[in-house]
Symmetry: C2
Subunit: 139 residues, 2 copies
Amino acid sequence: MYREEIHAKLQQSGLKITPQRVAILRAVYTLQNHPTAQQIIDFVHERDFNVATGTIYKTLDTLVEKGVIGKVQNTEEATRYDSRMEHHHHLYGDGDSRIEDYVNEELDHLLENFFLQNNIPGYEINSIHVHINGRFTRE
Amino acid sequence: MYREEIHAKLQQSGLKITPQRVAILRAVYTLQNHPTAQQIIDFVHERDFNVATGTIYKTLDTLVEKGVIGKVQNTEEATRYDSRMEHHHHLYGDGDSRIEDYVNEELDHLLENFFLQNNIPGYEINSIHVHINGRFTRE
DNA sequence: ATTCTTGCAAAGCATTTGCACCCTG
DNA sequence: CAGGGTGCAAATGCTTTGCAAGAAT
């Protein structure tokens, strides 16, 4: 990803172009494997210059907010436990801490068949969980 | 969930039956909405007796390990960022910190159609992300 | 000047760890 | 008395926050 493209991305999102943002964005694009904040910090420190930890976190938040980059989906709260042990999926409530179980064998078969017919080279599937995001319209 | 069932669960898993474990397990079964450790701590303190924080965490870990209860899937590390903004899914490597993107429009359509035909009462879907767990057999 | 950014260090929170004690077979 | 279980408090690790200083328009 070239400097010009990074500049363009920032401009499109309405953010000012600063050396810190350019460096952070370049780190995210360069580090392929869904980097953590720490990996981004290390990369920036090595390749560019010192950027404060707090700034990295703030900047990453800003970039996610503006839709320039994404976050790998996690519950982003504390770990939550589950009393159901059968295979099941989850419904997440947007802006809601609710998580409901979703059990549907037909869906399981559908996915199983799909991946039997659409083998992923170099990867052996163990299990598939569907994360459904949406809004609860009851209770 | 009755005391006898909880005792049976513990016994089946080869764990000793202790008041702490019974109380924690009852909390997980009673608290419906995928409780956090903190919610379990509060519940136990209110309904039963004081159990040390460290004990709750250790016990929950043990119960998950023995397959008595589950954890809601999260990356359980630090937040990870994603440079790809198109809709996509993720391949997770078991025992591997790798996360790869999986892009497949056919899968997206399949899921979309499935949920059009299988409406979830009281819930409005915004987005669907498939978490695929498995093993990378390359690199 | 006003607003947006940054640096820095302290604070916050969820979770883990180390160790002493305890109980049970 | 050996091993598993627990309590407690300190430590860890990731992330956030508050505030003062700097840069940009």
